[in-house]
Symmetry: C2
């Protein structure tokens, strides 16, 4: 069995959804702690308007503090050309763009049609690629949308193909509101693997209905080898509406994979310690059961 | 895909682990509510010493109140001949016996060796069978023990075979402390299915490390068609030591199976309503994420 790679999304997708904005120093410390626990790839921040998402303000200073952490790939969300320009100025080497597979979600979240959103993402990707910057793509609401309900698999597949063709090195499929079940995820991934190289696909699940680990394992069964998780189950999606609880917790997946004999160089105790350290600042306990069981 | 049968264990394994003892009327009402939501088999109580487990005191009165509920099989725990005698007097038609696969756990839990415990269980089974009473068997600590750590698979398999040979119509395998991972459960069940008829095996998981749903689905993948769960994730094992959190929640499994297209006649909204109704009496919120997402 090939090793499963974890992409830690707590410092961006996680913190972005917290009520309390953490300082640049604390955010950089979080990244260093995660790297010290063996995380090799993580979402570290985003280049967005500070008045819209204050939790991610001054991401360039976070980048400055962590750019020398060894053996760590950091990913920075750049939703538009302005963000990409700021990221480039900061010296970022990997960025990310996103698009929802739900028209209704795009209309409410980015105030654009799916077609416009995709065109925008492709423009950002092109600018990045021309400067040698890597781009990760996200397709969200793959298993359901809080506004339109069902999301057609064909729409998900089409967007994945478009993002890969445009130059994304990987596309992460997000069950943004956590409504998917293992069978639904399996069916979708089996369709996708007929159309695109599965080694370029990541899975990003949420634990709203307690399906996070089961869905991640279903994705792994389908050949996906990259899973997005968030330390302490931090996060969700601030625009995803009611019921969009936390991401699948990193420590829960590491527990599931570690004991299962997958290769893992991740220090579970270190992750749990970081989860509790963070909880004193976010002012709520971790949403990870492993964090509680191993406290 | 054959339908998955749920054995609801909240009214016994669940309530037995609650701090607050519910009245006979409330316990009977819980059973009726579960039956009304489509549960067809449930653990309803136990015939044990009231000074040891006050939460289960007066189970004979609960039985009296629910014996006429249609289309419902109720299971009553009878750990010894005294309990079996009381159950028989009450008119119970299905009972249950248990044994741990861990020597150390049996020493601390039933103050007997595994051999003595098994001999005792077989004696109870024989008395029951001679009166035409059905007996369910439980083998606990199948994936690990809080006292001795690893539990040999050979010991689990041997106990399963002994209980089936002694006349149990089904044996439920309990990951009592919830330490198992899907791969561990799969490996164990694959070994067991070579030795005994898998249709006689049930799986009983706990959610201590967030593996409850993933483990149940792994068991289903291995051919197990009966899963024990508890409404609201009630329960655990009072003797299982630190970290033994709740059972896998019934509503979480119904969510996982229902949307997956398994046959299910269970009313998810009804279960969630019962979960919240119960939480006002147990004085803590449900441990089910579906209960929270669907509130």
């Amino acid at each position: 069995m090939t090793a499963v790679k974890i992409v830690e999304v707590g410092p961006r997708d996680g913190l972005q959804n917290e009520q309390i904005t953490l300082s640049v120093d604390t955010r950089a410390q979080l990244v260093r702690r995660l790297a010290a626990s063996g995380i090799r790839t993580l979402e570290a921040g985003s280049f967005v308007r500070a008045d819209k998402i204050p939790q991610m303000a001054l991401s360039e200073l976070v980048h400055e503090q962590i750019r020398d952490v060894p053996n760590l790939q950091t990913i920075w969300l750049t939703p538009n050309l302005r963000g990409m320009s700021d990221a480039t100025t900061a010296g970022v080497t990997t960025t990310a763009v996103f698009i929802a597979a739900s028209d209704e979600f795009n209309a409410r979240n980015i105030n654009a049609s799916t077609e416009q959103g995709l065109a925008n993402a492709k423009e950002v990707i092109e600018v990045a690629r021309n400067q040698g910057i890597l781009v990760r793509g996200y397709v969200s609401t793959i298993a359901g949308c809080p506004y339109q309900g069902e999301v057609p698999a064909a729409e998900v597949i089409e967007l994945v193909r478009e993002l890969i063709d445009a130059g994304c090195y990987e596309v992460s499929l997000g069950d943004t509101i956590g409504v998917g079940t293992p069978r639904k995820i399996r069916t979708l991934l089996q369709s996708i693997s007929k159309e695109v190289d599965i080694s370029k696909i990541a899975f990003h699940g949420h634990d709203t209905y307690g399906m996070g680990i089961a869905n991640a394992l279903a994705a792994i069964d389908c050949g996906v080898r990259t899973i997005d998780t968030s330390v302490g189950g931090l996060g969700g999606c601030p625009f995803a509406g009611p019921g969009a609880k936390g991401n699948t917790a990193t420590e829960d997946l590491v527990y599931a994979l570690g004991v299962d004999g997958f290769e893992s160089e991740i220090d579970l105790d270190g992750l749990v310690a970081t989860s509790w350290w963070l909880s004193s600042m976010t002012q709520h306990p971790p949403r990870s059961l492993v964090a509680h069981a191993r406290k």
